[in-house]
């Protein structure tokens, strides 16, 4: 399409993801359209209609049905895909729990959007947070290229560990934005992600009968849930390994590590100095704005008590479930202040959901002051100026959760 470096194209985030999913060659795609996920599934439907795709595209009458269809298709041993947003994810909730409990390797894109009421079509992470306890691996992408990287990791890990993966991409901010991205071809993808061939007994097959989602009495239910929890926790090492493998086998698929990034792996990215005084933690596309804000802090003299960028670092949580507590604490341990900047709220709780997890990981082991900042709910624009103000605010004495914006 362009003479720009290698095979990079300029695409809307949704187009890039749809092209990638087609190249990954799922057996079944099922979805119900909802803003801002719509362009992804419209593109997938169009590929099918134009004869450019081999998957079955099953139109569903609701998100509950779409999730149920991919559950069933996955149980028959096929690679599957679905995508949703907001109320769609809430409507899927029961099936989302079942998919994880049945250990089905479903991959779903969530084009993150706020939740009702009041009705909003705009971006935040409240939809994803509503299913954080469901037993899925949850990845969050900063930009188009990282979304490509994470969808490839998603299929590899889901099919290897029999745990579903949800890739979160910010609605509109990534789905409707044009930017440069490289979508690897089917041939390139195959080097990393082979065809999905589950073993006999792992899927519904009359020759090897088995039951999915069976009844479990008190004597066994707890062990089964405990096992899922442990398996999910242990996926951290798998995510780290597979990220390295992807980097080696399909280097053009991954987001390049920036010069100022000290750490970039499947779980986290840390951008900034070796021994930061302040660390800003966030997930998803907001990270780009934060990086630019932090780089500019040394020339922004209008911000009172400004700190040199040599003492502010940015920690991106790429994998939210399983929660990479050790990786996070290791980065935060020498910092004096930590601002957790998140597009979600746990109504009635002491802090935002990500901040609660970070405080839980840090308790009794580090002295860093950790403060929760709720930003960007329902699409409120998050400016670099707001980020600079949070850097000032986190150094103050109080530590209560704040809504900023």
């Amino acid at each position: 399409m362009s003479t720009n470096k290698s095979n990079r194209q300029i695409l809307e985030g949704s187009q890039a993801i749809a092209q990638l999913i087609n190249n990954i060659k799922p057996g079944v795609v099922s979805a119900y359209p909802i803003t801002p996920q719509t362009h992804i599934v419209e593109n997938l439907a169009k590929f099918k209609a134009d004869g450019k795709a081999k998957y079955e595209y099953v139109r569903a009458e609701s998100e509950f049905a779409a999730a149920s269809i991919v559950l069933g298709a996955s149980a028959t041993g096929l690679r599957v895909y679905t995508a949703t947003s907001s109320q769609g994810l809430l409507l899927m909730n029961e099936v989302v729990y079942n998919i994880a409990g049945m250990r089905l390797p479903v991959v779903m894109t969530v084009a993150n959007r706020g939740v009702s009421a009041p009705i909003t079509i705009w971006n935040d992470h409240q939809d994803a947070m509503s299913v954080r306890d469901a037993g899925w691996i949850m990845l969050f992408a900063e930009n188009h290229q990282e979304a490509i990287e994470q969808h490839l990791l998603a299929y590899k890990i889901a099919e290897k560990k029999k745990i579903p993966v949800m890739v979160n991409i910010d609605g509109f901010v990534l789905t409707h934005t044009y930017e440069g991205v490289e979508v690897p071809s089917s041939t390139e993808i195959k080097k990393f992600l082979p065809d999905y061939k589950p073993k006999a007994g792992e899927y519904l097959d009359t020759a090897h009968p088995r039951t999915f989602g069976a009844f479990a009495a008190p004597a066994h239910y707890m062990e089964i849930r405990h096992e899922l929890h442990e398996d999910l926790r242990n996926c951290q090492s798998e995510i780290l390994e597979e990220y390295e493998s992807l980097k080696k086998l399909v280097p053009n698929a991954i987001k390049q590590t920036e010069k100022n990034a000290q750490i970039n792996n499947g779980l986290v990215e840390y951008y900034g100095p070796k021994n930061p005084k302040i660390v800003l933690v966030a997930m998803g596309s907001l990270i780009g704005t934060i990086k630019d804000a932090v780089d500019k802090l040394n020339i922004k003299s209008h911000v009172k008590h400004y700190v040199s960028p040599t003492s502010v670092g940015v920690l991106k949580i790429k994998t939210f479930r399983p929660f990479p507590d050790k990786a996070i604490v290791d980065i935060l341990k020498n910092a004096k202040y930590c601002a957790v900047i998140e597009k979600a709220v746990s109504l009635g709780a002491t802090d935002g959901p990500l901040a609660i997890d970070i405080k839980s990981a840090a308790k009794n082991s580090i002295k860093t002051k950790i403060q929760s900042y709720v930003v960007g709910l329902g699409g409120r624009d998050i400016t670099q100026d707001r980020i600079a103000r949070i850097v000032v605010d986190v150094q103050k004495k109080d530590d209560r959760m704040k809504f900023v914006g």
Binding site: M1, S2, T3, N4, K5, I10, E12, P36, I121, W122, N143, F172, V173, H176, T177, Y178, E179, G180, S285, L286, I287, G288, T289, K291, D292, A293, G379, D381, I382, T383, Q384
Partner: protein, 180 residues
């Protein structure tokens, strides 16, 4: 980094204009980003779209508050929206209007204001008031953001899937705007 803000009304292809700008810049080997200020997309409602162009990867996602280039696709929005907000003495302004430079009520340096009667060209060549490609010709002429070849390629990329006639008409319109 060059930041572009486009004002217009729903149904006039404001978002497509931002996308075409980003595609054209990308065609000239620049990094580019385009995104709408997502409103409730009713036909006729004032809307905005943004683009950024740079030599290095673009990371920030905030709206464009201080545009280097301001595009007004429909001058009637100026009655409802302060289009000049965040602009300065260097901001290049491209306005679709039949008015002359002196008749435009905008508190910005006259030498930076470039009026173009894009609606007239659109009605003549495209048969409807969709001015985004025509504006692109004016941008190519008034700035050095991208070449005309990159614009024509962007039009082919964006509309090629629809019809050859649509591509041809838009290229004709953009050339006319550029040569005015």
């Amino acid at each position: 980094m060059k930041q572009i803000r486009i004002h217009g009304r729903g149904g006039q292809g404001v978002v497509t204009a931002a996308e075409l700008i980003a595609i054209a810049a990308f065609n000239n080997n620049k990094e580019a980003q385009a995104f709408p200020s997502f409103g409730v997309e009713r036909t006729g409602a004032p809307i905005e779209a943004f683009a950024r162009i740079d030599d290095k990867p673009i990371r920030t996602r905030e709206h464009v508050y201080h545009p280097d280039i301001l595009i007004v696709q429909d001058a009637s929005v100026m009655a409802a929206v302060d289009v000049a907000k965040g602009c300065d003495e260097k901001t290049i302004v491209i306005i679709n209007t039949s008015l002359s430079k002196d008749a435009i009520k905008l508190n910005l340096p006259k030498e930076n204001i470039f009026p173009i009667d894009a609606t007239k060209i659109a009605l003549e060549i495209l048969g409807k008031n969709i001015v985004n490609t025509i504006i692109l010709g004016a941008v190519a002429k008034s700035t050095n953001l991208f070449t005309m070849d990159a614009v024509k390629k962007a039009i082919k990329q964006k509309f090629g899937g629809k019809s050859q006639e649509l591509v041809d008409k838009n290229i004709k319109a953009v050339e006319l705007a550029y040569n005015m």
